[in-house]
Symmetry: C2
């Protein structure tokens, strides 16, 4: 994953043995990007296979091109900027392995593909024999991490960058400021990180380290400093730049859209941003610089008569025009420091220069058509990328994201279509911490990465799910902690007693979707515990699809052979509450789950009885319906839903009609 | 853990509720060490308990001394140096919680104790009501991490420092160079990290960050640059400083004691070390600076006629005197930069200044009495610390380490005894990686920490083991990955099939002890896979002590009531091989374990049969003996031993005699 553009199977595989060795052709030394990538590749391979390779480093003295297992050829070391050649070819057979690419970045993609070809064959590890020719469909394949709401330490960022490289994502969009925190050390404006980060920020050297870390993996880094809205952190440090005079600002602990907004009529605002951008721009090597610009409702602008006067004086007829005025000034500042402005779609106002990159994000939740602004942007002559449809923090099924294509269904000229550069998955962090962020991003983002890389026609959902399961293992190999953390959370919830009932419950329970967890924004504060049962659950819970398919077979095709499997599931779920009961007395967090587990047990029991009796009474059906809609659980912050509820309902309704 | 010097139980406990709040008395702001420690404490508490506290930060506006749950009093912010006052008192009752200390470091120890008082009471989380007065027995309570053999990234070091703080260790000894790598960026001598680290080193800012991180937790950092032996990394960068002329040096990939040694007769050696120390000394705030000095066998000195001539000219009669000459020159260089020299016990030669601190490490394995050099050091007027007995990389039972006291059994004057400052656990890293290092250090080092902190009389092994089990949970709470990594390793070995058979096998299997894994030093290279079954096993395997106690009861007290429990264990172990057989075809690493599992199964089956029949034939007894001594497993790098073998033997011998 992502699925290659062209792939043929070879007759023979390549067996991994201790003789495995790598030879890189061309002018490289041990610190060349491709050399380090090859070392990582060999470490992953040995780590997974347990093979003791004799030569641990590429181009070691004893290795020659003719004897090496893997030969890597490339023409040039790429400067990692938008639009470089990322293509590669890969040939695996028992005669050896060859990666060819124009750039070292392309060759690194070849290594990511090769790693995923590891399989067991005749009781030993081998690489599957294939011929692959591959290149990306879109040039911009991004993952955004919000480190403003919850700070993510360097190690968390790095392991996610490793995972990005595995699935060939190439833009790390780093959302570095928000109402809840400003996350970068600034020497010229030290109040920003000293007063507005709770001590949780990246030093400049850490920023540079991460930028280099990403670059070493062929990944661009686009920083975002969100202005003028989402500005509480800025204003905690510099209240005099706020649009509401005399207001005392302090870091936001809740989630939501807040009023604090930089004052666009105050020259000192531009001085501060000029100082900031001048200092931070050189930390980032990429030309794009994201200034946010979203969700400014302008309440404080309306309330401030001086701002209103300024608008009159400058013939700015509404908040949009005022924000455009602000954005255009920012664009000029950024240009001085060699940066191109990029912002969320709200920046697309009539006078915005066409050089700005429009980040399309709003959709149905915001009362708009999905991707509406994307089409508008390209028709208006802007380059754009799509995030609507890739909001992974909504915790929808990965299927929903996978089927969204960055290229809209409407007719576009070739020129217009060419302005759609790709897309970005967005990991907003109101409800995620370093402990849970991996399980919110992965493995699902691998499917989104496939959407950005692979051919438009690659959209078989079953095939995707099957491969996603394997990707989950490779993601763990490169350091992602989604599985480790889930098990730890269950141990913590069970207070270190038997977790098997809780684990079973996670296979059918999914965290509330579309921001219905923490709906008011105040139930969870930034410092609330995110170590609850909902945090241990994930979207696409493990047994849900399998159960759905069994119900499909039983209901739609009257396939009696699945009856036993259905019964086995229902029987397991019916028994969870009893197991939890044994551990609840010594585990207060299990007590919170118990009412839900009991409800699940009742639902499963009714379903099981109906299945076994091949009938269900109207009374029981109503009882089931009542149980399914009941949500006593929310009172205890349980915030999960029974993801098999509809399918149990479907099964019993079918039985009722029989 | 460590057990306090004085503790009384209060009649009432303190229930944790959402009103929980902290008030710190004295002149503190949010960046004060104690404020940050309090924030961490509250996060750990909420994280474990799932309680949504209303106020997430100490001394928030709504919190006053009279209403706060926890009041912290202290007199001064300590400069973290050797010998500061670390005492504290802690009072917990339903009326509130109070920590009092002379220094903020003492107060932080109070928080570490308080965290461990969390328990479940009446279905909710509470702090146990106690009155504690506590202070350390020794001033030097250290953990050494070797990052030379296998590099440990910043995140690994930091989480181990957090764990140190939890168990009140106060010296992080950082072994930064060895034959396998030099791990610090040096601007004046860039070849050191560029040529001799494989790109795995700490930047100077990372070093400073870690020093500050430790200081924030009341922990001193003592760096070690090991010279003149263990010098391959130095000589890879600067071959001209080697004792063997014309030799080509390259980073060592094997484990062992190697010949490359700095040339003590070459003035340029001192120039290089002076340059290095001048640059790195200011990165560390502590006065002590460890120069290694161990295991120099002087082979290259013997072989080099110029060095022999230099010794004659300078009346240095042997290698010891030459090394003393070297050490004394280093002591003078370090003194220029405000540092006191510390070294492994080999530096203790007749002319060594008494200001040097002697690190006692050799013992039975090196043909000496345990702690021999410790006594010699204090009698010679040196201050000293003990590591012999605390070599956790030997993978002995924690019981062995726990019962070693830094204070020797021989008669010492008060003055002499006062020169024994404490001890250090040493985590040498030939066979550990970032993935396994936590499970090698923890939870066992908590018991060693107790030895260094608590009263000499606290040495009840059963009580220690019981508490160690709880500590394992708190260690996971502060970020230690021992359990997470073990489960991941089992998943990887099982190639993501069912791991329960493997997990059962880890409960009775322990990795080879006392360096018998990798005995020749070449079987495992630095880049070999440390993701094998032995890496998933730990010393003090989970079921071993329990089984031993059952055998004790059955054999020594003829207690028939334990028969069923014994049979249950044996029956489980007898069945492991069958489960592994089902997953082995698709898991090459399981195939390697299979012969061992089968042998374990045969052993357990014979034991089970004997137990059930209440007798065993001589033939079966011999068969059992043969199975137990058999080690076919080593051929496949299995490197584990059946830790219940002797007890099964004991049981069957008893049955044979009956």
């Amino acid at each position: 994953m992502p699925w290659p553009q062209e792939m043929k199977t070879n007759a023979s595989d390549f067996n991994i043995t201790e003789d495995f060795s790598v030879f890189i052709h061309g002018d490289v030394d041990e610190y060349s990007r491709i050399s380090e990538a090859s070392v990582r590749f060999v470490r992953y391979m040995t780590h997974k296979s347990g093979i003791f390779v004799t030569e641990g480093f590429p181009n070691a003295k004893a290795i020659s091109a003719s004897t090496a297992s893997l030969n890597i050829y490339f023409d040039t070391e790429a400067k990692v900027v938008m639009g470089i050649d990322e293509s590669y070819s890969l040939n695996v057979s028992d005669a050896g392995i060859e990666i060819r690419a124009h750039t070292d970045v392309g060759a690194m993609h070849g290594l990511s593909t090769l790693l995923q070809l590891i399989k067991v064959k005749d009781g030993a590890y081998a690489f599957t024999g294939v011929q692959i020719k591959d290149e990306p469909r879109f040039v911009w394949r991004g993952l955004m991490m919000d480190v403003g709401r919850h700070f993510m330490p360097v190690g968390v960022v790095k392991r996610n960058i490793d995972a990005m490289a595995l699935v060939k994502l190439n833009v790390f969009h780093w959302h570095l400021s928000d109402d809840q925190g400003f996350r970068v050390e600034t020497k010229t404006l030290p109040e920003l990180y000293k007063k507005a980060s709770d001590g949780q920020y990246y030093t400049q050297e850490q920023v540079k380290d991460i930028v280099k870390y990403a670059d070493d993996r062929g990944i661009r880094v686009v920083p975002e400093f969100d202005v003028p809205g989402h500005g509480t952190a800025f204003l905690t440090a510099y209240p005099e730049l706020g649009s509401k005079k005399g207001m005392t600002y302090s870091l936001e602990r809740n989630a939501g859209i807040f009023d604090p907004t930089l004052d666009p009529t105050n020259e000192k605002t531009y001085e501060m941003l000029d100082t900031l951008f001048k200092e931070v721009a050189p930390l980032f090597t990429d030309v794009y610089f994201h200034i946010g610009g979203d969700e400014n409702e302008g309440k404080h602008w309306h309330e401030n008569p001086e701002i209103q006067q300024f608008m009159k004086d400058n013939k700015l007829k509404d908040n949009h025009e005022l924000q455009t005025y602000f954005n255009i000034r920012l664009e000029k500042i950024l240009a001085k420091y060699g940066k191109s402005l990029m912002g969320w779609e709200e920046i697309m106002t009539p006078n915005m220069p066409k050089s700005a990159l429009i980040h399309s994000w709003r959709g149905v939740n915001e009362g708009m058509e999905p991707g509406e602004s994307l089409v508008k942007a390209v028709k208006n002559g802007y380059q754009t990328i799509l995030s609507n449809g890739y909001y992974i923090d909504l915790l929808l099924s990965v299927e929903d994201h996978y089927l969204v294509d960055p290229m809209p269904a409407v007719a576009l000229s070739a020129e217009e279509a060419g302005r759609i550069l790709g897309g970005e998955a967005t990991m907003w962090a109101e409800l995620v911490t370093p402990l849970t962020v991996d399980s919110r991003i992965w493995p699902r983002t691998a499917a989104i990465a496939e959407r950005f890389w692979s051919a438009k026609e690659v959209r078989d959902v079953d095939h995707m799910f099957e491969r996603l399961n394997t990707m989950s293992q490779f993601l763990e190999l490169v350091g992602i902690q989604h599985r480790k953390s889930q098990e730890y959370l269950l141990r913590n919830i069970a207070n270190y007693q038997d977790t098997h009932g809780l684990r079973q419950l996670t296979t059918i329970s999914e965290p509330f979707k579309i921001y219905s967890r923490n709906a008011g924004g105040t139930e969870y504060k930034t410092y609330s515990p995110f170590t609850l049962f909902a945090d241990a659950c994930t979207s696409d819970a493990k047994s849900v699809r399998d159960f759905r398919k069994l119900v499909d077979a039983y209901v739609d095709q009257s396939d009696q052979s699945v009856k036993e499997a259905l019964a086995r599931y229902l029987n397991t779920w019916a028994g969870i509450a009893d197991q939890l009961k044994t551990i609840a007395p010594n585990a207060p967090l299990v007590s919170r789950v118990q009412p839900y587990a009991e409800r699940v047990g009742e639902i499963a029991s009714i379903g099981l009885k109906a299945l076994e009796n091949d009938e269900i009474s109207q009374e029981e059906l109503q009882q089931l319906e009542a149980l399914i809609v009941k949500k006593e659980d929310t009172a205890v912050n349980l915030d999960v839903e029974l993801a098999v509820a509809n399918d149990i309902m479907r099964l019993t309704q079918y039985l009722a009609k029989k």
